[in-house]
């Protein structure tokens, strides 16, 4: 089964990937903040994937965030914000 990626539209030029959990409230706050800032991103709810897809995605997440927690936000394939850090997120996109 392919990894399900939800694309949310926004006005930014940057490539933003959000690895999240559907049950995590901090991830929910991050999604809301991105919506408020009109940032488009690819959203992957890792808990909703099957085991093999999860393992594949976790490898990718750990490249940027070795601790492997959620939410993990990867910007342009290199910058990484872990957790709901409102200040850091706003600064990233100002």
């Amino acid at each position: 089964m392919a990894v399900e990626v939800k694309h949310i539209k926004g006005t930014n030029k940057s490539d933003v990937k959000l690895y999240a959990l559907s049950t995590c409230v901090w991830c929910g706050k991050t999604k809301k903040l991105l919506a408020d800032l009109d940032i488009g991103y690819d959203c992957i709810d890792v808990d909703l994937l099957d085991y093999d897809d999860q393992q594949e995605v976790l490898k990718e997440v750990r490249k940027h965030n070795p601790g492997g927690g959620f939410p993990t936000m990867v910007i342009n394939g290199k910058d990484c914000i872990v957790g709901f850090d409102e200040e850091k997120i706003r600064k990233q996109f100002e």
Binding site: S22, T23, V25, D47, F70, D85
Partner: protein, 182 residues
């Protein structure tokens, strides 16, 4: 694949969580919506995996592997002490509860390599298991000595953990009424 947990179930579970927290001397996150969403996440995980795996951590779907993150998790009290909230934000310190300190997301304590698992560390599985050698008594594996013991000076309650609890679960005295016992 995921069953939706009903609003009714979420509401009644939220009420139960609140009561249990109060009885144990803990504070739930005062943001009701936040806390109800976490309650829903716990119930969702219970449907998915058969146990209430932390809603803010990826479950392995294996109760043995996830025992430490079944809510309330093994890290709750250390996190309440150090950061004023548990990892998912369900439990908060009195300061956060009263708005004196802001609730923020906290770093993950699990699997950070800081806790070294001793080879002979006691777990519910091996406690009391004989390390048998012919002619010898079995040895009881114990964590005595790994943790300090704290005593509540108001009621005498003893607990073996890194720091005294924020509130005595027996008599509700504050943390500063505890003294080191062992």
């Amino acid at each position: 694949m995921t069953a939706e947990v009903s609003q009714d179930k979420t509401e009644s579970y939220y009420i139960k969580l609140k009561k249990d927290a109060q009885d144990g001397g803990y504070y739930l996150n005062p943001d009701e919506n936040f806390t109800k969403e976490l309650a829903r996440g716990l119930l969702t995980n219970e449907v998915r995996y058969g146990y209430q795996s932390c809603p803010c951590r990826l479950s392995a779907g294996d109760q043995e592997k996830d025992r430490d993150i079944i809510c309330p998790c093994d890290y709750r009290d250390a996190d309440l002490n150090d950061f004023g909230a548990c990892y998912c934000g369900l439990y908060v310190s009195e300061d956060v509860f009263n708005g004196r300190v802001k609730l923020t997301s906290i770093p993950e304590r699990r699997n950070q390599g800081k806790e070294e698992k001793r080879k002979d560390e006691a777990t519910p599985e091996n406690y009391g298991v004989n390390k048998q050698q012919p002619g010898s008594f079995g040895s009881i594996v114990s964590t005595a000595g790994k943790y300090p013991v704290w005593r509540c000076r108001v009621c005498g309650y003893l607990c073996a953990r890194e720091n005294p609890p924020l509130i005595c679960p027996i008599c509700k005295a504050k943390k500063d009424r505890f003294e080191r016992f062992v």
